[in-house]
């Protein structure tokens, strides 16, 4: 199905096939990023919502310097929105178990899986702003400029947030491994994947 996307001034910017190309190119990594930004939410559902927004705001997407950064920016906003909704649902006791799609390669090793679980625990105490920067930079590999564009913040703010996020993550990871060492009787070296 061809779906023509037009800007508000009538100029044709992106077709649905163009957006589909972005979906094919960045869909997998965006879905993984969404699962890291909002671990309790179905990333597949969020990804579809992300590209629905992309289709509806094709003029903004077409005008963006980096479509990838633009898509990440929407992903961060959607994840934040879903996190707030999930917190609200938990507050009212309405949280229901949902099917969470597999977003990571089935070929990952046990060490990778254990590292993901440990890092997820370490990220949990972080504020949303710090976690977003940390995930995009350290795990998704986005450069600082792309993160600044995606979040709509100055580059320096990105680095500042990253600095504090790294500090907090490192401390939390060390604290978690120390606790694990005390309870398991293993050396910390043995505990680290």
């Amino acid at each position: 199905m061809m779906l023509a996307i037009h800007a508000s001034n009538g100029e044709r910017l992106l077709s649905a096939d163009d957006v589909r190309g972005l979906y094919v190119e960045y869909g997998a990594e965006l879905r993984q990023a969404l699962s890291r930004l909002a671990p309790d939410v179905d990333a597949e559902d969020l990804l579809q919502e992300l590209f629905v927004v992309a289709l509806r705001k094709a003029d903004a997407l077409g005008a963006a310097d980096s479509p990838r950064a633009w898509l990440y920016g929407v992903a961060v906003k959607l994840a934040a929105s879903r996190r707030r909704a999930a917190r609200l649902r938990r507050f009212f006791g309405l949280e229901a178990a949902s099917d969470v799609s597999a977003v990571d390669s089935p070929s990952r090793t046990v060490e990778q899986r254990d590292a993901q679980a440990l890092l997820a625990r370490a990220l949990r105490p972080l504020s949303d702003a710090k976690r977003d920067v940390f995930v995009l930079f350290e795990l998704q590999g986005l450069p600082g400029e792309a993160i600044a564009e995606a979040l709509g913040i100055p580059l320096k703010t990105v680095w500042t947030r990253l600095f504090h996020a790294r500090k907090a993550v490192a401390a939390e990871l060390q604290r978690l491994t120390a606790i694990e060492a005390r309870t398991s009787g293993l050396a910390r070296k043995e505990l680290v994947p």
């Binding site: 199905m1 990594e29 590209f51 629905v52 990571d104 600082g144």
Partner: protein, 308 residues
């Protein structure tokens, strides 16, 4: 100041165990995207949008509108309390009536006591008239000769073939009314010569004895006996006497007077149908009598009352 490098590329900046955890987590490749899922994206994009952010605004608008209406609208006067209680009907034994609906009563015969509460209404139809009551208590008594209405409370509107009038508490009306009887039809007292000397019970015994005979004395005795019985208030006996006289002496010397006495008595007793029959008999039997025109006028006055 140089830009920071990811930990996975510069593990020296961070404790080795931390760098390793992050590097391992970051190195997990994503599951390839299912290209067929793009159709689901298009389907969701084509679905109508529900902007839930507008819901709170909508709710607030509705609440504000309701509050505005409550504040601005004039306070209506309290609605009058209208009771729609059904009328309370108390029939006398033998009364014949029907109700359909409860506010419409057809009274064929007998007596009904009807109480209409405030706000109620009742319509009563009898063979002779029609009553409308908004509030009040009244009595309606239907006999063959007419309908008697007695108002105890409130007002009753009475509709008759001759017009409408309002009866108030304490008033009564009888329809049809008893017509005026022409003076010429009122019988003159007659005295049977054979019993003229007797008095009291002896006179009645004398007249009864004479009436059992034949001849003029018997006719005179029957007429005087009936008249005395009427005077004594014994209407049934008087009627029997007059009818016996007419049966025995239909063309007797006194048959016009006997007929007139019977006619007057029936009219006074409001037995209009029988009175009309007696009047017609008089007109046929006594066509040349000077009182025939008065009898005919009385009959004509009785006929519409008897047939409403």
């Amino acid at each position: 100041m140089s830009e920071p490098r990811p930990w996975r590329e510069a593990p020296a900046d961070v404790p080795a165990e931390v760098a390793r955890v992050v590097a391992l987590a970051a190195s997990v490749p994503p599951t390839p995207i299912d290209r067929a899922a793009w159709d689901d994206v298009l389907a969701r994009a084509a679905a109508p949008r529900h902007d839930w952010r507008l819901v709170p605004a909508f709710v607030l608008s509705v609440l504000a509108g309701v509050a505005l209406v409550l504040v601005v609208r004039p306070t209506p006067a309290p609605a009058p309390v209208v009771a729609h209680a059904a009328p309370v009907i108390t029939p006398a034994p033998g009364a014949s009536f029907s109700q359909e609906p409860a506010e419409r009563i057809a009274l064929r015969s007998g007596r009904l006591s009807v109480a209409v509460p405030t706000g109620g209404a009742v319509n009563v139809v009898t063979p002779h008239l029609e009553l409308d009551v908004q509030r009040g208590r009244f009595l309606a008594d239907v006999t063959e000769s007419g309908t008697l209405v007695s108002v105890e409370e409130g007002e009753v509107v009475v509709r008759t073939p001759e017009g409408t009038r309002v009866l108030r508490a304490g008033e009564s009306a009888l329809w049809p009314p008893t017509p005026d009887i022409p003076q010429a039809l009122l019988g003159q007292p007659a005295e049977a010569p054979s019993c003229a000397a007797a008095q009291g019970d002896a006179k009645l015994d004398c007249l009864s004895r004479e009436a059992s005979r034949n001849g003029l004395d018997a006719q005179a005795a029957l007429y005087e006996l009936g008249t005395l019985q009427l005077g004594a208030g014994d209407r049934r006996a008087a009627e029997r006497t007059f009818r016996a006289s007419l049966e025995r002496f239909p063309r007797g010397v006194l048959h016009p007077e006997v007929r007139l006495s019977l006619l007057v008595e029936l009219v006074r007793a409001r037995r209009f149908a029988e009175a009309i029959a007696v009047a017609r008999d008089f007109e046929a039997a006594c066509a040349d009598d000077p009182r025939a025109s008065d009898v005919a006028a009385l009959r004509r006055a009785l006929e519409p009352r008897h047939a409403p």
